[in-house]
């Protein structure tokens, strides 16, 4: 079984936030109103943080794109009382709306702030990929043309793309990638199987020094960063 992972090369990242926009588009993530942004209720599956080190004039700001880290030891899965968030066999952590009771314990336990709560019923929009209607038989409520109020949601590594690609026999990591990887103009993101020695992800990780976020918590994220 594959174990999907992502490598983000911070040296190549230009901070254009195309990944953030692509994620919102692909997964129908609602764009929050200015009030929602102010009250911190906007839904983000993929966020971008800027981190400053040093003092002017010797200052450096790094742009860190942050999808869900898809941890190998996910605290959110441990604390979820309803089995609403669980780890698939390929290592992707998914959130099942129909089971979620909205207790928000996973949001408290997530070390990366990767989870968002639906604070209101979101406007129902048609799924924008009209040419590729979602396959309801195998994906249940994914991808999300309609969302439910009162449940938690998060990044899924675009597993609907992966599943469809596998069914059609296409190569995951080169032909089929998550929306954020596809949208990156500087090719700073690489997606692939961490267990496959031939995959570009593994080869990149072997060639450069990498790190993961908050490694002291031992959550073993599957999103790796190559330092600048």
């Amino acid at each position: 079984m594959s174990r999907w992972g992502m490598v983000i090369d911070l040296d190549k990242c230009v901070g254009c936030q195309a990944c953030v926009v692509a994620c919102k588009e692909e997964n129908n993530v609602p764009h929050g109103s200015p009030e929602e942004q102010k009250s911190r209720r906007e839904i983000y599956w993929h966020k971008m943080i800027a981190v400053t080190n040093g003092k002017y004039p010797n200052v450096r700001t790094e742009i860190i794109p942050m999808p869900c880290m898809q941890c190998d030891h996910p605290p959110c899965v441990t604390v979820c009382p309803a089995k609403a968030t669980f780890k698939r066999e390929d290592g992707i952590i998914v959130q099942y709306f129909r089971r979620c009771i909205g207790c928000k314990y996973c949001m408290v336990a997530c070390p990366y702030g990767a989870r968002s709560f639906n604070f209101k019923a979101q406007e129902a929009k048609a799924y924008h990929h009209q040419d590729e209607p979602p396959d309801r038989k195998s994906w249940a409520p994914w991808p999300f043309p309609v969302r439910t109020q009162g449940v938690v949601e998060k990044c899924t590594f675009c597993f609907h793309r992966i599943d469809r690609g596998l069914k059609e026999g296409r190569k995951i990591g080169t032909e089929v990638v998550p929306a954020c990887v596809e949208a990156c103009p500087s090719q700073a993101r690489v997606f692939g199987d961490l267990d496959d020695p031939q995959s570009p992800v593994v080869q990149l990780l072997a060639s450069r020094s990498s790190f993961r976020l908050r490694e002291e918590l031992a959550t073993k994220p599957k999103v790796f960063y190559l330092s600048r």
Partner: protein
């Protein structure tokens, strides 16, 4: 001496007005719940940064009060201290009502309350590594045990009641330590993460439970014109003082562990950030310092007013202690990456007090008060007045008082 119990007549004008006013709060509860349920939790102060707000604060507070009340009831039914007999039934009854209130709080805080039954599908549809799922076993068992306990007391089966009471006290300890573990085991939130949290919760539960019983006893006994020995309240006051000292040690140890080593940012935020007043004024000032002074000062510890003031201060202060855990614990931004995180992701969250959330919380508090007031009317909770003849059988439920 055999302690007799009786209901209150409930015919006075004051009582009727009180019941009607509290009944209005049921309507307020239904309305504010429906508003949040239909419009979403955007009408509350919670956000993606501070996912747990007032309702969770009240929930852990009420569980603490309930556990404290049950442990205090054991003084009369397990340890057979006669002096505490007048408040024994009241303590058990309050334990049940406060737990029902706590369950209401946690239920309405859910985003999809209609799916709460999933919590009780043990091992099949729920995840038994989650503290919420484990606690659901504790909570249901606790409510059942308390009902059996109260029933045995009403039936006058003292020996059985003391056995069930003993089990119930240990169960109450487990219930509240489990509630503390909800927070204490979360490793990524510095303010939450502490092995001492369950024990601190338990001690705070004892202080707040004892204080609430002091307050309720004095208020109901005075309003229903029942005589009570001042010594009862003073002895509870002495007990309260000693538990507060233990609580002080617990809080000190917890905060020192977090402050001593350099990763103290979150605790410094708690002490000096936006919510410093919840910690210093409520948790430390009203929860520990003021009551400790009132209960140890030679002049105030011997007066009813002094002890009651101390109890009132603890009841408010321990609520502050819960709030100082729930809200600043998540408000402090998580260190995603070494360095200063710019923009909103690096700023502490702000928790506004919103009308619908406050109305919902307060209406649940008043529903619990309403159930208590009705309980006094229909159940023999309070000790009989001097010269009053006890009703025929000790367990009559629904008997109209003399």
């Amino acid at each position: 001496m055999v302690q007799n119990y009786s209901t209150i007549e409930g015919t006075s004008k004051g009582y009727k007005i009180l019941v009607v006013l509290l009944g209005v709060m049921v309507a307020v509860f239904i309305m504010s719940f429906l508003v949040a349920y239909l419009q979403g939790q955007q009408v509350w102060g919670v956000s993606n940064i501070i996912p747990w707000g007032q309702l969770i604060t009240f929930y852990i507070y009420f569980i603490g009060l309930s556990a404290g009340a049950i442990i205090i009831s054991s003084l009369s039914y397990v340890f057979k201290r006669e002096i505490y007999e007048p408040i024994g039934r009241m303590a058990v009854f309050m334990g049940i009502l406060l737990m029902v209130g706590a369950m209401l709080f946690v239920m309405v805080d859910l985003g999809r309350p209609e799916k709460a039954w999933r919590l009780f599908m043990y091992f099949y549809l729920n995840n038994m590594t989650s503290l919420f799922a484990i606690n659901s076993i504790f909570y249901t068992g606790y409510i059942t045990l308390m009902l059996v306990y109260l029933w045995l007391i009403f039936e006058g089966k003292k020996r059985l009641a003391s056995i069930v009471g003993t089990v119930d006290v240990f169960w109450a300890v487990a219930v509240h330590m489990g509630t503390g573990a909800i927070f204490g085991l979360i490793g990524n939130r510095e303010i939450y993460f502490s092995p001492i949290k369950p024990f601190e919760f338990l001690t705070a539960a004892l202080t707040s439970g004892t204080s609430l019983i002091i307050l309720t006893a004095v208020v109901t006994f005075k309003l229903t014109r029942r005589a009570f020995q001042d010594e009862l309240i003073f002895s509870l006051g002495r007990l309260l003082a000693s538990i507060i000292v233990i609580l002080l040690v617990m809080v000190f140890t917890d905060k020192l562990t977090h402050l001593y080593f350099p990763n103290r940012e979150a605790t410094v935020y708690l002490f000096t950030g936006d919510y410093w007043w919840i910690f210093w004024i409520f948790q430390i000032g009203m929860g520990i310092a003021l009551p400790l002074i009132l209960l140890t000062h030679p002049r105030t510890k011997k007066t009813l007013r002094g002890v009651v003031c101390a109890a009132a201060s603890v009841v408010i202060g321990v609520f502050g202690e819960r709030a100082a855990l729930v809200i600043p614990g998540t408000a402090h931004p998580q260190p995603f990456f070494p360095g200063r995180v710019e923009g909103p992701w690096g700023e502490p969250g702000i928790f506004p007090i919103t009308p619908w959330e406050t109305l919902l919380s307060l209406s649940i508090v008043f529903i619990v008060v309403l159930l208590f007031v009705l309980g006094l009317r229909y159940l023999e909770i309070l000790p009989a007045r001097a010269g009053e003849t006890p009703s025929a059988s000790p367990g009559t439920v629904g008997g109209a008082g003399p």
